[in-house]
Symmetry: C2
Subunit: 161 residues, 2 copies
């Protein structure tokens, strides 16, 4: 009977170890997969944004290639001011939950994989939702000039469903 | 003694169930995190590629916004032909391991988060590595015309370290 006890105890130890090892492997996989696509970059210190926003300038426009690409990370509640782009802008949503609104239309919720094609010279804003961060790639043609910055997005506009 | 046996058996069942539940939770997390950023799209059937390649056209260029954006998935060994872009191209590496080579230079290995800024009219190719798939976003200005397709990338060029 004692031998049976030892065998059972041994089996329990084996189950517990295999369970632990499995958990370690899975956690490693989760850590690898949840690595952000791009580093967060530098905190934006200019007055064109409300709240905490970080920019990683991935590609700068130059005389040969007029397209600029940047990864932007918005803390919950953070957003751009109203603004427009002379050549429009494309937004690819990477992580979290964000908002996008063009003047005169309802705001849209953006999640991973969503795409916005913002037309030239249309006033709009984008940013994180109230309780989640938001990471996006912004693709902007610079051949027709720089972004035109307008007024801040008020709390009441930001919070309007 | 029989009661002790039942208790031990019960404890083993509890450990096994809790281990299984943990594994299910972890697998769900892995599945969520490993969801591709964009769906794979349609298999490319034209002759500009070698091997199996899928395209998801995220944004088409139009008269207002000249930038096209697409997600391209290459199976292991698959690649473009040599080609060039009149307005250049930007590549963002999303997943897997890929290659990028400009004519006259050594090929470069691309991994998640790597960025290529390919100058206008420079002959180049890109694709998956030999033993891994490769997913990339291609950002292409269409204002100066369409891609110029050239000869296929031979196996010896593709495999050269």
């Amino acid at each position: 009977m004692k031998i049976a006890f030892v065998q059972i105890a041994l089996a329990m130890v084996v189950i517990a170890i295999s369970c632990k090892q499995h958990a370690i492997q899975e956690n490693t996989a989760v850590a690898q997969l949840s690595t952000p696509l791009f580093p967060k970059g530098e905190k934006i210190t200019n007055s064109n944004f409300t709240g905490d926003v970080w920019l990683n300038s991935l590609v700068n426009a130059d005389s040969l290639n007029s397209i600029a690409v940047g990864s932007v990370t918005f803390a919950p509640g953070a957003r751009t001011k109203w603004h427009s782009h002379p050549a429009g802008q494309i937004i690819l949503a990477l992580e979290g939950a964000g908002y996008y609104q063009e003047k005169g239309t309802a705001k849209r919720i953006l999640r991973k994989g969503d795409i916005v094609k913002c037309p030239p010279n249309v006033s709009h804003w984008h940013g994180a939702s109230i309780d989640s961060n938001f990471v996006q790639v912004a693709i902007t043609g610079r051949e027709k000039g720089e972004t035109v910055w307008l007024e801040a997005v008020t709390d009441s506009v930001y919070r309007k469903p």
